[in-house]
């Protein structure tokens, strides 16, 4: 186990913003929350599954709701601790570790605050290693692990624990509960053993996020060779450098959808089109898919390499489009049906990244 330092936290915030792939919520609030939790309850250890009792219970936690509401109805604490302890009570077992579901965006950090308060380690794994908009979009679903029993809680002490037949129904029930509970809630789902995390989870996600952030921060400081080191570490590739010439946003079925068009910096005949559904999901050049979900599309400011979220995209920004291969654990049967282009309504084949690390 190793202690998560404040310096790690800064790198983690940057890594989490990048792994948000344009979405996942602003980690700023979550970071303030982690800092206060560390002040009040002490530091947090990151543990590998091999360091924990294989039969021990691992419980996840995340924030679920609407980002705008969370900016006004700031986290309290009990909604996260409450959903974890109530699920533990339902299962009749105490957890040995807390796990993030989504290492990407603000949900990377929330579990750390909860772990600090509960005096538990955070297990170095997750189920996405990027941001996705729905609860069932995990490698656990591919492994046949149910999201339920699961719990949703608010800050006042209202808690629902429920059991569902499929992870898709789990998503619907959770979303419906959240609408009744103030749209800024804690969720705990996919309860499992350490052994299951070891077998089915994405390994080393938290460390990866910190390391990725550290490599990107070196790029931002302008260190020689840092860009190449960053791309080599992540297996990523810079596909396009250009200027945003069109951004069209709309909200349908609860998702912030949009289309982004980028014109190449030096060759105006080349344009890249990126489709957005909360996250940046599909990148096309001349109608040809270049990077497709579940591989990650990240947009960096061309000048300072700061990741740009979909809310802050604007005409005229000069950007680099980076593709990062998704976690290798995604590559198994059922991936495309769950999180491939067709799962988001794009009639386009999945195009694995060229030369991506498996």
């Amino acid at each position: 186990m190793r202690e998560l330092t404040l310096e790690d936290l800064d790198d983690m915030v940057l890594g989490a913003t990048l792994l948000g792939a344009g979405g996942g919520g602003d980690p700023y609030i979550a970071r303030l929350m982690v800092r206060q939790a560390m002040e009040d309850f002490g530091s947090v250890m990151i543990a590998s599954p091999d360091e924990l009792d294989p039969d021990g219970l691992v419980l996840t936690t995340a924030v679920i709701g609407a980002p705008t509401v969370i900016s006004e109805k700031v986290p309290a604490g009990p909604e996260f601790v409450g959903c974890v302890t109530s699920l533990a009570a339902f299962l009749g077992k105490k957890p040995v570790a807390i796990m993030p579901i989504e290492v990407g965006g603000m949900n990377t950090l929330i579990p750390i605050a909860v772990a600090a308060e509960m005096g538990l380690p955070v297990i170095d794994a997750d189920s996405m290693r990027r941001a996705f908009p729905q609860i069932e979009m995990t490698v656990f679903t591919l492994a046949g692990i149910p999201a339920s029993p699961m719990s949703v809680a608010d800050e006042k002490g209202n808690i629902v624990v429920f059991q569902t037949t499929t992870n898709q129904v789990a998503e619907k029930l959770a979303r419906a509960s959240v609408m009744q509970l103030g749209m800024a809630n804690g969720i705990s789902c996919y309860p499992m053993t350490v052994a299951q995390v070891r077998k089915f989870g994405i390994q080393g996600s938290m460390s990866y996020c910190v390391d990725l952030g550290r490599k990107l921060s070196a790029v931002q400081r302008g260190e020689v060779g840092a860009y190449d080191a960053f791309l080599e570490f992540s297996g990523g590739h810079k596909y396009f450098s250009g200027k945003v010439i069109d951004i069209d946003r709309r909200t349908t079925e609860g998702f912030a959808k949009g289309t982004l068009v980028i014109e190449h910096l030096t060759d105006p005949t080349r344009t890249m089109r990126i489709e957005i559904q909360n996250e940046l999901l599909m990148a096309f050049e001349d109608g040809k898919p270049i990077v497709t979900t579940p591989d990650l599309i990240c947009i960096l400011d061309h000048e300072n390499a700061q990741p740009i979220t979909t809310e802050t995209l604007a005409f005229g920004q000069r950007v680099d489009v980076i593709g990062l291969p998704c976690a290798p654990e995604w590559h198994q049967e059922g991936m495309l049906e769950l999180v491939g282009p067709k799962a988001f309504g794009y009639d386009v084949p999945y195009t694995p990244m060229e030369g991506a690390r498996k």
């Binding site: 800092r35 705008t68 700031v74 749209m183 998702f255």
Partner: protein, 518 residues
Amino acid sequence: MSRLRIGIDVGGTNTDAVVVDQDGNVLASTKAVTTPDPSDGIAAALKAVIEGIDKSHIKQAMLGTTHPANAIIQRKDLQQVGVLRLAAPSSLAIRPGAAWPKDLHATVIGPSAIIKGGYEYDGSEISPLDEQAVRDFAQKCKGVVNAIAVSCAFAPANYEQELRAGTIIAEELGEDYAVSLSHQVGAIGLLERENATILNASLFGVAKRVVDGFQGALLSHGLKVDSYLTQNDGTLMTAEEAIRLPILTVGSGPTNSMRGACALAKLSDALVIDVGGTSADVGILIDGFPRESSAAVEVGGVRTNFRMPDLISIGLGGGTIVRDEDGGVRVGPDSVGYRVVTEALITGGSTLTLSDISTKGDRLTGFGDASKVAGVKDATVAGALAWVDEQIQILCDRMKASRTSLPLIAVGGGSHLVPDDIPGVAGVIRPAHHSVANAFGAAIAEASGAVDRVYRYEAEGRDACLDDAKRLATEAAIRAGADADQVRITSVVEVPMSYLPGQGCRVQVKAAGPLATH
């Protein structure tokens, strides 16, 4: 005879003043040095600019000032504030003042409490307001701090609880006790709005002195006129209001400069570039107002959610140093700054600057001794100017909101560097009086009102919701002094909210109009 207005702008270096008639003509202008006590500079600029003007025609005076901004940056004259948040049990995971710089926190933040209260996204209460807790907190602040900042979850949508808390504090500590309520200060984003409200309350003393100094200077010249201060968004508030909301003035400098430049050029939609000795700032005006930045704005190291002009700055100015090296011509990023008047080649110095390049390249004339740059190679001039032109084109490109070409207004002492032809720009305009664009911007400022709240389109329909927001913004503008017949909607921004039921949408509407004459 015409009705006249005085505009004064206190900047970091200069205090400028203008007298403007009702048609926007500059009748007089002056530039004085900003003094350690800025009131002295204001008095001096005022005295100079009204020389020879018939004072009986002066009806209004507008002040744009950096006092409050400087007070925060220098941690000077700030008062300590009690911080009350109405949101519990929500928000307990992040205490007030989180992420503030340590020294500012120690200077400004006094007793703080998060008590029961606040609203949900749908308008229901998170908790009813804990009135006894408000009373207890007021008593805790009594004799300890002289102001209290109150913030409530979703106050931009519903501020009943904030008003009630304000009433209770007045009952406990007296009607004159200073209270700042968050819904008057900021928009959506509780932590950022709370930060702004705390800073606002800490500036009450500074604001009172500025307004007293300004009104005192006016009175000492026998000017019994309406007095206003300019806000971050380029619109006005009365001097009395400014005493209660000083934080809304901290970004007014660049806004006044941009609006002044645009009005001097008699345009309402344009790009503006302000080139100084060290840097160039580019902004854009749409319908006479600067486009605001989408990113969070920090004031003195504290994150706020203010409306501030969206500016992009680069190190390109008259004093920027040019080097001709083996690898080619390298420009900046360092600069001799204001010392360009002694250190550039043309002014008898020994440093090759962009002002020298501009002279040799025939862009700058009538400044210094052109013969001093005879030895500069043409290739160096071409290389440096190519860099300047490319940078300015990139800045303009980044700032534009669409592919439509807009004119570019060039102001500032280094504006000679701006080329006449820029791809994607519909002409470069260099207006007269551009050196006092800031003070002119203050003089022509209008009254405004704004609304920022979440609507649910499913219930009322989008059109009805937008109409409601426009009506509220218009009413707010009229309350702020705008002429009811001339108020217009200046911006409407809709931000659809993901996951929110009932087609939730954040709507931001702004209205503005010229001051009503009375």
